[in-house]
């Protein structure tokens, strides 16, 4: 059983500001889905290697050479907010007491 606290914790990890009603619904639905997923525990996989990809490809590298990329203006064109050559975001670091504003 997944608890209300679990749902709140996972929503924080996932950066989703869910309403109380959404959390409640989410808990009920996740409970049902997870109960179904729990059927996987019936399978003995103690001697089984995991598969992360359908096709076995590892460490695909290209030559370490410079090549053209998106121009800055093009890369910034979809930004909700920009400031000159930068993406603009709200304040990240809290101001401490006594520090200059």
């Amino acid at each position: 059983m997944i608890s209300d606290a679990d749902v709140a914790h996972v929503a924080r990890l996932a950066r989703l500001a869910l309403t109380d009603a959404e959390c409640q619904r989410m808990r009920e639905q996740l409970d049902g889905i997870l109960a179904y997923i729990d059927t996987l525990r019936a399978l003995d996989t103690s001697a089984t290697e995991p598969t992360s990809h359908a096709v076995p490809l590892v460490n695909v590298m290209r030559d370490d050479e410079g090549r053209p990329c998106l121009a800055q203006d093009v890369a910034l064109a979809n930004a909700p907010e920009r400031s000159g050559e930068f993406f603009r975001v709200p304040r990240i670091i809290e101001e401490g007491p006594g520090e200059p504003s």
């Binding site: 997944i2 679990d6 749902v7 914790h9 996972v10 929503a11 990890l13 996932a14 950066r15 989703l16 500001a17 869910l18 959404e22 989410m26 639905q29 996740l30 049902g32 889905i33 997870l34 179904y36 997923i37 059927t39 996987l40 525990r41 399978l43 996989t45 089984t48 290697e49 995991p50 598969t51 992360s52 990809h53 359908a54 096709v55 490809l57 695909v60 290209r62 998106l70 093009v74 890369a75 064109a77 979809n78 930004a79 909700p80 907010e81 993406f87 975001v89 709200p90 304040r91 990240i92 809290e94």
Partner: protein, 484 residues
Amino acid sequence: MEPHATIHELTAAFAKGTASPVAVTEGYLARIGALDDKVGAYLTVTRDQALATARASEARYRAGAPLSPLDGAPLAIKDVFCTAGVRTTCGSKILETFVPPYDATIVARLRKAGAVLLGKTNMDEFAMGSSTEHSAFKLTRNPWDLARVPGGSSGGSAAAVAGGLAAGGFGTDTGGSVRQPAAFCGVIGFKPTYGRVSRYGLIAFASSLDHVAPFALDILDTALLLGAVAGHDPLDATSVDATVPDYAAALGAGVKGLRVGVPDEYFGAGLDPEIDRAVRAAVDVLRDLGAKVEPVSLPTTSYGVATYYVVAPAEASSNLARYDGVKYGLRVAGKDLIDMVSRTRAAGFGPEVKRRIMLGTYALSAGYHDAYYGQAQKVRTLVRQDFEKAFARVDVLAAPTTPGVAFRHGEKADPLAMYMNDVYTIPASMTGLPAVSVPCGFSATGLPIGLQLIGRTLDESTLLRAAHAYEQATPWRERHPSLA
């Protein structure tokens, strides 16, 4: 030309001069204008671009120098593929205003082949769904019965091709999102081997499961569409560096001596008896054509859905972390960065996307990772081993595509009931095996039924050959829905 002409019929007529790419494109645009209010297949119609491309195509045919067998072919593209300068929403409010600065590799290859892109089609938000009802923008209706879903997540492209609103199209198949809507809409949906077609410029859902896949009215068109986009792409690190055969040339060799396996587990409880009968009759057709049919067993089939609903949401929760209100898309103001990101995502994502992000985040979180994600990855190995054993004995597997026919809008409100739709399509997704849905009959109520054929890794040619032999021996492709 009639609205359900195939691509090869259209381009043959272009070459002979009995039809014109501009007139045909105008015909499709007029049909979209008249009928898409009913069907809801398109989110964006790129009228001016389509006509400009058609004019260039027409000039090439006049000069006797078409670019490819797709030159002038009017296609519908799922709104999951980036198109330079054309809004690409992925069916989500969070990307409602996003205009990509580049083309997806498949879009670039289709343009290079001279194809006419009519527009971008509706889909379940971020390709998460089996009915296209999770689109943030509109409902898409099944052309065979407007009260029913077209399937999903690539429901818009499937409905466009079935409804004569495009001659062919592209979607993406992560757990069945092309094969299932193809079955529901009575057209071909072909998922190639994982890595056969580049994912570059495809908005990611579950990277180890996402496949680019064409929709078509017949198998020759399918071979042409696949051939145009398949092949290694240095821009996708998971793209397979293998020679692409001439798929169209492989057709017509028949199925004499081909070993066809029928997996017991695909005919169990939950399968609509009408579909059971239609698929078994299709297997009989293959036998009559000279195939050797034998039963096979894929014992882990019933664990596929549970495995998929750990792996896919886990990958999605990571992929969708990029929607943070900073680089593109929606932003909702907040008191600091984390608050802004959390509010943006809460406002921009719909309920199904939130559910899968939560499920995936939970399955990957500390204390649960091994029990859920670790176990699912191991079961994925067991599923693969099942197929390896089967393909030691047979060349192709024959099964239903879906357990039921197209359902009514709103009928599968419970998430788990919706997920169970994918029970027969998920195993080939998790193993990356090529698989196709081919029309194999109709229910008593007139709804299409799909036969699924699954093949060996990178052996699309055998799969196309078997599907072609079946198609040519049966009348199903001659029936089309009437939207008048």
